[in-house]
């Protein structure tokens, strides 16, 4: 085997390996079968985000894939983020377990914002909001320059959220 042939043989798998890694990183849990959703941290909480930025509207939306009204409501956020450029939406998934399968199904939804996971326990729900009775979906909205969040329990319509955002923007 001459040197050129040897190099060609060796190089090919290395290039493929790099490409594969690149693809894995680009598509996240869609192609990595072991990856799970990142865990919820306090930084996700809308009250904390509101202090970071003076212009953006922050929405933290809590949902679960087992919750039918939650899944019906999710497409609303696609439209909202397109129509309101200052809107930042973060999604918190409260499924029973954080599995790679859950991560892949969430990825397929192509939600317009980061998604993290929080186990649905009484302790967690009280921590997020003492007034939240655990009903899903739950939406917390923080407008710039405001100290408190607007909390919406249950499924919202595109129209009601749209009106709420417009009222604050004007």
């Amino acid at each position: 085997m001459n040197i050129q042939k040897f190099l060609r043989k060796k190089r090919t798998p290395r290039i493929d390996g790099h490409l594969l890694l690149l693809i894995l990183f680009s598509f996240g849990c869609a192609h990595s079968y072991a990856q799970k959703l990142p865990d919820w941290t306090d930084e996700i909480a809308v009250s904390k985000q509101g202090e970071l930025d003076g212009q953006s509207i922050f929405i933290t939306h809590y949902f679960a894939t087992w919750c039918k009204p939650c899944m019906e409501e999710l497409p609303v956020f696609d439209r909202l983020t397109k129509e309101h450029p200052t809107l930042v939406v973060k999604f918190v998934c409260l499924d029973l377990e954080n599995t790679p399968k859950l991560c892949r199904s969430i990825h397929k939804l192509r939600l317009p914002g980061e998604v993290c996971y929080l186990a649905p326990t009484n302790e967690h729900i009280t921590h997020i909001s003492p007034t939240w009775d655990g009903t899903l979906p739950f939406t917390s909205i923080r407008f710039p320059g405001e100290n408190t969040s607007i909390e919406l329990s249950g499924k919202q319509t595109s129209q009601s959220l749209q009106q709420l955002l417009e009222r604050h923007e004007n």
Partner: protein, 192 residues
């Protein structure tokens, strides 16, 4: 007419004060009607609003059987009720309830509330949503409303078995120390 109006007034007043009439009657999975009044010696009841489809409700069948086994001997049997909208959730149909009760070996009645009236009467919001009702003359008073315990996912890690705590306190003649807790589960949507 006057009698009907009086009865309606009575029921509305009872509901406003957290009272449950003993005459409530619903169809069980064995097709027989079941009423609280069928249990003349019961001191009270554990009433669980549950359903077939909800992942949270699916975590509890064994615990419900255990609760029933333990407390029926002490005069507090368990009754499960499904008030889910069967149009939205086919899995909660009466036929599927029969299959579920068989599969999970339910030792307690699993009643079908097709009009959702009983859920409204209790102000049940989610599945599972637990209640403890206690006999007071010709009716029952709601003494506890909320979660079965504080860990749906991991039964071995339960720190606060709220429902059992309430029943134990009532059996000892004490006041329920935690009469209300938050429930996590699937929302019972009421048909308009």
């Amino acid at each position: 007419m006057k009698t009907k109006l009086f009865l309606l007034f009575l029921v509305v007043t009872m509901i406003a004060f957290g009272q449950i009439p003993s005459t409530i009657s619903l169809k069980n999975v064995d097709e027989k009607m079941v009423s609280f009044s069928d249990y003349p010696t019961a001191k009270g009841f554990i009433v669980i609003f549950t359903c077939n489809h909800c992942p949270f409700a699916k975590l509890y069948p064994k615990r419900l059987n255990d609760l029933h086994e333990k407390y029926k001997e002490l005069g507090v049997p368990l009754i499960a009720i499904s008030s889910m909208d069967t149009i939205s959730y086919e899995d909660d149909s009466y036929l599927k309830m029969i299959q579920k009760a068989k599969k999970e070996h339910y030792g307690f009645p699993y009643l079908y509330d097709p009009t959702q009236e009983v859920a409204k009467l209790f102000h049940a919001q989610k599945t599972p949503h637990a209640f403890v009702i206690w006999r007071n003359g010709d009716h029952f008073d709601i003494k506890y409303s909320g979660a079965i315990d504080d860990n749906g996912l991991h039964p071995n890690e339960v720190e606060n078995p709220y429902l059992s705590m309430a029943v134990d306190e009532l059996l000892q003649g004490k006041k329920v120390s935690i009469p209300e807790t938050m429930t996590i589960g699937c929302q019972i949507y009421f048909r308009k």
